[in-house]
């Protein structure tokens, strides 16, 4: 064994010991001791997290972070992250929790744990209040606007009844304009887009008609932190029961939590 390889092996094992040493401390204990919980929220993903007029982060995820901190009786330290680096922040212990409109998938489940869902995130059909549509079949004979090539438009083309008219627009803005101007009463889009429409045009809110693809948001945390996971789940369940989650959804997503959330 050359001296370099020996040296490299030494550094590597030291690093491994150091890492596992940090991971062994119970995260909940350290948070309670420090009286601070570090939460990664989206930097630029309204309405979940973005800079407000005072340049401070604001959004549903920020409210959620503060709520969890408050329930724990600690201070929340908000860290603005991008969607690319939110999981690395967690893995390097720069954040205790990631509340960053994080969806669950098998690849992510291999590296981090997820709480129960705290916010809805879905694509679906939205529309004016007085349009009676509750499922795909109800679209028969109706006209729906969608952005050409978007997931929602392809889904609609596949699953909508034969006599549904799908008006395809070039980009998201044209689809939004078609709804806001009243050219269409229904649009297929994401719930964050629907929220933005309602926010800017309160006179013509885009209310949820039905969900097509559902990918709710979960709080992400490091693996092997059963105490913290249990605590976070308990707080979310309580918030769901006492209406806090619904309040957040109404405030930021402009729609109540969907049925069955």
């Amino acid at each position: 064994m050359s001296i370099f390889r020996a040296l490299a092996a030494g550094i590597l094992s030291a690093a491994v010991i150091g890492l596992s040493g940090a991971a062994h401390a119970d995260a909940l204990d350290s948070i309670m001791k420090a009286k601070v919980i570090k939460v990664a929220v989206p930097q630029d993903f309204a309405p979940f997290g973005s800079a407000g007029a005072d340049l401070k982060p604001q959004g549903l995820d920020v409210d959620m972070a503060n709520y969890i901190a408050e329930q724990l009786g600690v201070k929340a330290e908000i860290i603005a992250v991008t969607s690319a680096n939110r999981i690395p922040y967690l893995q390097t212990h720069k954040a205790d929790l990631v509340i960053s409109s994080l969806g669950k998938n098998p690849e992510r489940e291999k590296v981090i744990d997820f709480s129960v869902a705290y916010a809805p995130f879905f694509s679906g059909v939205f529309g004016a209040k007085d349009v009676a549509v509750a499922k795909m079949e109800d679209l028969a004979g109706k006209t729906v606007g969608a952005t050409r090539g978007a997931i929602e438009e392809q889904e609609l083309t596949k699953a909508a009844p034969k006599d549904t008219t799908i008006k395809r627009f070039e980009d998201n803005n044209a689809t939004i304009a078609a709804f806001v101007s009243g050219q269409v009463d229904l649009i297929a889009t994401g719930n964050t887009v629907a929220a933005a429409i309602t926010e800017k045009n309160p006179s013509r809110p885009a209310t949820t008609k039905f969900i097509m693809n559902n990918s709710p948001c979960y709080v992400g945390l490091n693996k092997d932190e059963p105490a913290l996971l249990a605590k976070v789940n308990e707080i979310i369940e309580k918030a769901k029961k006492d209406g806090t989650l619904n309040k957040f959804s109404e405030k930021w997503l402009k729609n109540p939590l969907p049925a069955g959330f």
Partner: protein, 220 residues
């Protein structure tokens, strides 16, 4: 980088293309006929109408000729509903095309009218022709003969410009192309074929316009 051309990827969508082509043809024919009617009326009003009407036509012509077609289209489709006038994308497309060609052809036909010698009009009046007869048999006939090539060009320009109506989801040829491209991601093949279709359409349209010109618009 190698890109394998695969025109067969278009085959499943031939019906979309055919419907799009049909829409573009109908749109062109209707807006040409209606647009020239508007232009004829406009040019006549501009040259012989009372000052208020002439001024009104002038405002219309300047307004349309100095704004982009797509903005006019968006105004009709997205803007007018705010005033309570909601038009379907097809109606909006037809109206925008007629309004647009109407303004351009007003200017073109007016140039033709201006080129008719005053003496011809006076000759007609002295032969006891009514004003309308003078307009129809002396002024417009000569005007059209003079400006027919320019008008033909404008009609072809409008036909090609109609591609813009795809932006308000009117199902024309370009809309079909965009739709197919969003499904099979074969941008080169789709737009190559559609460009060819437009080219053939233009050549046929020019040929047709020349036939009509030779038959009905007598020169000299």
């Amino acid at each position: 980088m190698t890109y394998h051309l695969e025109f067969s990827a278009l085959l499943p969508y031939w019906q979309d293309l055919a419907w799009g082509l049909w829409f573009t043809v109908v749109l062109t024919v209707v807006s040409t006929v209606a647009g020239i009617a508007v232009g004829t009326l406009g040019a006549s009003a501009r040259s012989f109408g009372p000052p208020w009407l002439s001024g009104l036509v002038r405002v219309y012509v300047e307004l349309i000729r100095n704004t982009p077609f797509i903005v006019q289209l968006f105004f009709i489709f997205f803007g007018l509903p705010a005033l309570g006038l909601k038009l379907s994308e097809t109606t909006a497309a037809f109206i925008a095309m007629v309004v647009n060609l109407g303004a351009y052809s007003t200017e073109i036909i007016r140039a033709g009218i201006d080129a008719v010698p005053k003496g011809h009009i006076e000759a007609g009046v002295s032969l006891a022709m009514t004003r309308l007869e003078v307009l129809r048999y002396i002024v417009l006939r000569q005007a059209f003969a003079k400006i027919y090539p320019a008008l033909s060009s404008q009609i072809v320009i409008v036909m090609l410009g109609s591609a813009v109506v795809s932006q308000i989801s009117a199902p024309d040829l370009t809309y079909a192309a965009n739709f197919i491209q969003s499904r099979n991601f074969r941008a080169f093949e789709v737009y190559f074929v559609v460009a060819l279709i437009y080219l053939v359409l233009s050549i046929l349209l020019r040929y047709l316009l020349r036939l009509i010109g030779d038959r009905f618009v007598r020169v000299g």
